[in-house]
Structure formats: C-alpha cells, structure tokens
Subunit: 458 residues, 2 copies
C-alpha cells in the first residue's frame, strides 16, 4: 500500500496534472508527417523539461527523424535497483479531421474523458508515470528506486531501427525492471496485465511470368498468368482445417497451458458482441480453437494486399508480367521469425507453378514476447493495479506487436511488464481518440504503487 | 484478276496516296483523351472529305464522344449487291513519348515502313480501301458494287455502346458482304484471313468480410480475410490439368476440326520463337493442346487484377474489409457470354467460403465469332490477297475480340471477312508503331481485287 502522502499529493494536484497533460496534447507530434517535425521536437523538449524539473538528467538523443528522450534519476536513499519506464511522445495522424467532434489538438473533456489525439496513445499513459515520479520527488522524500525513462518519437511508424538505438544505448538503459504503458484493459473495469504479444514476419512474394504485360486476348491460354499462379500458391498455404501448411510452421508453437485456458475462459468475453463490434463472423483460423486463442496464441498467415495487373475502374484485359502478394504471419511464442521465413522460402521453392519465377523479400520481422506470469515484477504490477483500480487483475495476451517490448526482453535482458491504462473503445488511431479522466488519475496511482512495490522486492 | 487500268492507276498514284495517308496520320485522334476531341473530329471530317470527293454521301453521325462516319455510294452500272467496309479513325494514346524514335504524329518512312501512331491501326488499313475505291471511281468507270463505309472513332476504348449505333443505323448499313481490315498477317510473307475471334466475359468478383479494415495483429485469426478467401476461390476455378472448373464451361465449346488442326500444324509457327518474343514459357492452359489451339480455340479464365488491402510500398498489416478480383474469360465458338456468366454466378454461390459475402458484377460481354471458311466472300478475299501479295493465303483465328465483327454478324446478319494488312511486329498500341510501305501499297491492290471479286460473285 502506497504511503498516504503519495496518494494525497496525487489527489491534491489532479487539476494541475490534467492541465499539464493538456499542454502536451496540444503538440501535433505526428511522426509520419515531416511538416510536424518541429512540433514533435518541441513536444519532446517539453517532456524533458518536466523531468529536469524533477531532478532528472534528461537528454534528447538524435535518432532518424525524431530524437529519443532518455532521462535518468537516482533513488533518494540509494538503491542498486533500476526501473525502465517506456513511452512514446509521437502520435498517429489525426486525419480524417472532419470526423472529429472536437479538434484533435485542442484537448477537451466530455463525458468524463479527455478527447485529443494521443490522449490515450501514448501521452496520457506515459505522463501518468511522470506524475507518479513527481509525487515521490515532491512528497515522498525522493524516488524509491533508480528510474530511467525511455520515450521515443517514432513508435507510430513502427519504431524503425530502434533495435540499434537500444543496443547503442544499452549501458544507459540498463535496468532490473521495465514497465511499458502502451496497452489497455481487457474491458472497462477489468485492469489487465498483458503478458504475451505476437511477433511478425512480413514478406513479399513476387511471381514473374512474361517479360512484359500481355494482351489477354492475343496471348491468353498458353501463358501462365502470375496472378492466377499467385492465387493458387496463397490458397495452398492453408489446409481445409484452416492450418498453415508451411513445413514445421507449428513446431515451435507453445501450446496454451491448462491454466491459461481456464483463465481466458473466465474473462468477460462475449464472442457475439466482439463479432458485432468488428462486423465480422468468426469462421477464420484453425478449427476447434477459441476466438481468444486464435487471436492471441495461434499464428496466422494473412494476405495484406496483392499488386499486379489492373487496379483501376472498369475492365482492362491484361496478363501482368508479375504479381506480388504482401503476406504477414503473426507469430506466437516460441516461434522465431527467421525460422518461419526460411520455411516460407522453402515452401515457395517447392510449390511455385511452372511458368513463373518466385522471389521472396522480407519487409519486417519481430519476435513474439511472452513474460512468465510468475516473476516478482508481475506480482508487483498486479498489486499496483489492484490498489489503484480495485477488482481482480486479468492476465491477458494481445495479438499485435509492441516493438519495444521484444527489444527490452532480448537486447536489454529485462522482462517487460505491460501495464496499460487505456480502455478498448478509446478509438486509438481513429477520430475521437479519448482517454477516461479516471483511467489517467488512477493510472498515476497505479504507477506510483508499481514504483513502490518494485522498490520493496527482494 | 483486276483490270489493268486499276492496277496501273494505283501504281501511278502511290506517292500522292502516301502523302494523303501522312496527312491523316498527323491528326492526333486519340479517343481516350478528351483534349483530343477536336483533333478527332477534324480527322473524321477529313476522311469524310476524301469520300465526298469520290461521290459518296458521307455523314458524321454524332455518337457518344466521337462521331461515326457513314459514307455510301452506288455501283456505276447499278447493282443489288453492297459491301460494308469497316475501319476506325481513332488511335491509341502515343505515350510514353520518350520511347518513340520519331514523333508519333509526324509520320516518317524508315527502313521501308511508315512510322506513326495509327499507321497500321487503323488509318493505314482503312485508307487502303478508300484508295481502292478511288481507283474504281477515277480509272475503272465507277464502283463495281455498292459500297458503305463505317468508320468509327472509339474502337480503341472498346467501341462502347456500338451495338446500339449499329442497330439504330441498320437500314443504312445493310450489306451483303462486310470487310474488316483491322487485323494482321500471320507472319511476314503470309497473307491471312482471320475467320475466328474469341469472345469475352469480364466480371468483378467482390468478397466482403469485416465491416471495416482491421488490424491484422489485434484481430487476425478468427476473422476470414477476404484476400485469402479470394485466392482460394480463384485457385479452385482451375483444376490440376489447367481446365476451368465452372459447371458446364466446356459444354458449348466447338472442338477443333481435323481440317483446322492440320492446317494450323502447317502454319509457319515456331513455339520457341514465340515464347522468346513474349518472354514467357508456355506451360499455361489446358494440358495436351497445342499453343495455337490454346490461344485461338480454347476458352480461358484469367485474373487481370486484384483490388483490396494495401498496395503501396512497404508493409501495412491490414485485413481488408473487402477484396475484388477482375476476372476475364475468353470465350470460343459456340460459347455464349450470358451462359458463362450464369455458370460463374452459380459456381460462386456454391463455393464462397464461410465468413465472406460474394458479389458478381459484369463489366463486359462479347460473343465469339466464327466465319465458315467455305462461304463465297471468303474465297473472294483469298483470291484478292493472293493476287496482291502472292503466296498461299493462311486461314487463321485470333484470340482477341474485334467488337464490330460480332455486331456485323449478329445485328446486321452479314458474315464479316477479316482481311488485314498489318504484320505481327508492327508495335500496335506501343511506341514506334509502323506499317510497311509495301503492305499499304499491296493493301490497296488487295482491297480493289476484293471489290472486283465480290462484284462478280454469283
């Protein structure tokens, strides 16, 4: 349980903290838009200023198009333990602007929620940690353990090359614990820790046939059409039961444990409500597996786009010279992208129809992440969430990737704790993104409790 | 054999005829470019002028974006027989301009060929008929039979709605014979009559899954991906032997006769030279059929483009809400597009995977054409070509469609004779389109001989 002076301080300073968050939300720090570079820098500088005011050594380290903020401060009483707190100051583009009920960079509170681009993702979430740190510095006699902030500016464009940054700066990022707050509750009222994420292997498969595009009337028949051949190959990558047919694809897949299966069955998850939300029926994937298992714990192979031939309006009778499928595979523990890519290449080599040549190009790879639920930092997080939000804390996974988590685990050798404060209907990446005021305020308490609990671990 | 005064006239006026053709070639009468509308009109008007000078009643009848020229003149000695001569004054766009060795609308002669957009397709070809008519009017005592020219201006955009025009103007187009010169020799030195063309059924198959595009990480697994489902359906439309699996697809296919098979085997066709020309191996289509049979006499099902998901550079992990395949089927005698479309719809209804909804939209339909090689007009054409070009005349088919031919056959009830003067390497629709001077000059003789021969048919 947090000392009373910390919770009192957070309660007493709520309105100022909200004002400060609003100020951060006014920076249009969009990472994918080059004209927002100055705004992004100003936003990063403002965050650094907050941390310097709290005694941190804060530095914007130049990286690609947007600097990475590293800020470090030591525990008041001396400590050999350090926690790494991750966030990102960049945001998604706000477009389409006309679909916002209030301007995306003029934060406003409606129905108990802060409406602004980045309110949830991720300014509101990482700022909760900044304010928790402030409570210790101003009212708790100083930090209970050493703290390093890593706040990047290109998460929304996929954290490109972040691995190199983390490796180059590993000495300054060295930590015993790591907390990532860029995730969400399983549902409103269900505080959650995400202990598993899927990885990714994203490939382009290109089939090349004739030397140039051909008229399908003059030449159609004896010519192998790369688009038809591609469809045939893609179709053959799944069997009738929805399983991926690449050799050894499932060899390294960690089966769901009985404990997980039971725990997931108890989650407040209504399949038909979920189906209605996304407007899809749920007939996809491997037969005989629950919807959550298929989303969180089973690998997939999805075509994300096909290029080749004629994509315009109306009819054009062309046999394309080449066709490309963008194929992404979501990977689960303990699959390795490089191994899956090799299996894909082998399958392609063995299954390319006569008349076309195949080429495989890797666009992106990310390892899946699984954090053992039994580690002490996880227990600290569960208690912190319970203290701040009440109720039972759900242990969940997520089907997507958060690039930093895998780097923290693999490059820094620390188990990342994904403790997010967002809610599932907060409209991330969409118009009218919002973040419940209560989630932010309780988030500051949860973060403070997490620091407090971590400092007390054996 | 043509009277000497006709051949002498054509020989004596060669250079003037060439100059007049050059003048026509200078009009950039591109039908797909709206800024070329005035140039197209001027070109049509110039052609009409040539025919009026020869005593024709020539009229530009307004149609869509480009008028159709109908020009009629009666036989000198009175005749109850009429021949319809078809051509088109529009041309393909000349782009990419930088790939032309001389400007596309400044005709020039190099290596015995006229280089210009439209030199072959189709100004050079139909103008040969105009000059043949001129020879009869100026030197032969008048036309040997009644002549109707039908010269349209939207062939290069697919002759849209031409059926309605032909039907509306059927009385003025009524003829006993019809000659279409918008085709080519089988090879240099092999004058050819094209007696068969494939038809077309062009469809769009759209599969719709989730209500909106979904993040493939968050939702991939239980969701049926419309692109994957589409690939599966397309793949299943062919069997292992390259046959189309739609129900009854081959029921109406007229088998190649023994006579045709033998005649085609004697054509100067080198499979490996053809494969090298188009830069493709010839492993496609139905196993056990010759390359020419697969190109000319067997139906196909080709995907011409797939729309859906992400087509840009790099990676985007999207499960698209919908995906569309543009599918064209080349049809052969005696298939009917409406029957094939119905079979496609039925197949789709029976083979759409769970989790997606299918919709089929028809973009274009054209019937195949087969002209019995035994009809008298065909013999007249064969003799005319032999007289003008020498050698044996090849009877060939072509895998593409020429929209007017089917309309002449079905709407006007006349068997079209496809007697073209182009050569296979004339770069139609491409940079450096050209037309051999000799093909044009002998083409005028062939046209005159055809008129002469037709007038003498019983």
């Amino acid at each position: 349980m947090l000392p009373k002076e910390i919770t009192d301080y957070l309660a007493a300073n709520r309105s100022r903290h909200m004002e400060e968050l609003f100020e951060l939300l006014r920076y249009p720090s969009v990472s994918s838009q080059s004209e927002r570079k100055a705004d992004s820098l100003a936003c990063a500088e403002r965050v650094a200023g907050h941390l310097r005011d709290l005694g941190f050594e804060a530095e914007l380290r130049p990286w690609r198009q947007r600097p990475v903020l590293i800020a470090r401060s030591r525990a008041a009483a001396g400590s050999d333990r350090t926690v790494l707190l991750y966030g990102h100051y960049d945001v998604q583009p706000p477009e389409p602007l006309e679909q916002w009920d209030s301007p995306p960079f003029e934060p406003t509170i409606r129905d108990g929620a802060i409406y602004a681009r980045g309110a949830n993702d991720d300014k509101g979430q990482f700022f909760a940690h900044v304010k928790a740190v402030e409570a210790f510095v101003r009212a708790g006699g100083g930090l209970p353990l050493n703290v390093v902030f890593l706040i990047e500016g290109e998460e929304e464009i996929g954290s490109p090359e972040l691995e190199k940054f983390v490796a180059d700066n590993a000495a300054d990022l060295r930590a015993d614990y790591a907390v990532v707050s860029d995730s969400e509750f399983f549902a409103a009222g269900v505080p959650s820790i995400t202990y598993g994420l899927r990885g990714l292997a994203y490939l382009e498969l290109t089939l090349t046939g004739p030397a140039g595009d051909l008229h399908s009337g003059l030449h159609g028949g004896p010519v192998v059409n790369p688009l038809n051949a591609l469809a045939r190959m893609i179709a053959a990558m799944h069997d009738e039961a929805g399983r991926v047919t690449l050799g050894g694809f499932y060899d390294d897949v960690l089966p769901l444990t009985e404990t997980e299966r039971e725990a997931w069955a108890k989650l407040p998850f209504d399949e038909s409500a979920y189906a209605a939300t996304i407007g899809a029926d749920l007939a996809g994937g491997e037969a005989g597996r629950s919807v959550l298992e298929r989303r969180w714990a089973r690998p997939t192979l999805d075509v994300n786009g096909i290029v080749g031939g004629y994509q315009g309006e109306g009819a054009k009778t062309v046999i394309p010279s080449a066709a490309t499928a963008k194929v992404s595979m979501r990977l689960v523990p303990n699959q390795r992208p490089e191994k899956v890519v090799a299996a894909f290449r082998k399958w392609v080599a063995e299954n390319t129809p006569a008349g076309v040549r195949a080429e495989v190009k890797v666009s992106a790879e990310a390892r899946p992440v699984l954090v053992g639920p039994e580690i002490p930092a996880m227990a600290a997080a569960r208690e912190a969430l319970a203290e701040a939000f009440g109720g039972e804390v759900a242990m969940i996974r997520n089907g997507a990737s958060v690039p930093i988590t895998e780097l923290i685990q693999r490059v820094l050798g620390v188990e990342p704790i994904l403790m997010g404060f967002g809610l599932p209907d907060d409209n991330l990446h969409a118009p009218n993104e919002h973040f419940a005021v209560e989630q932010f305020e309780r988030g500051t308490v949860a973060s403070a409790a997490m620091l407090y609990n971590l400092a007390r671990l054996a």
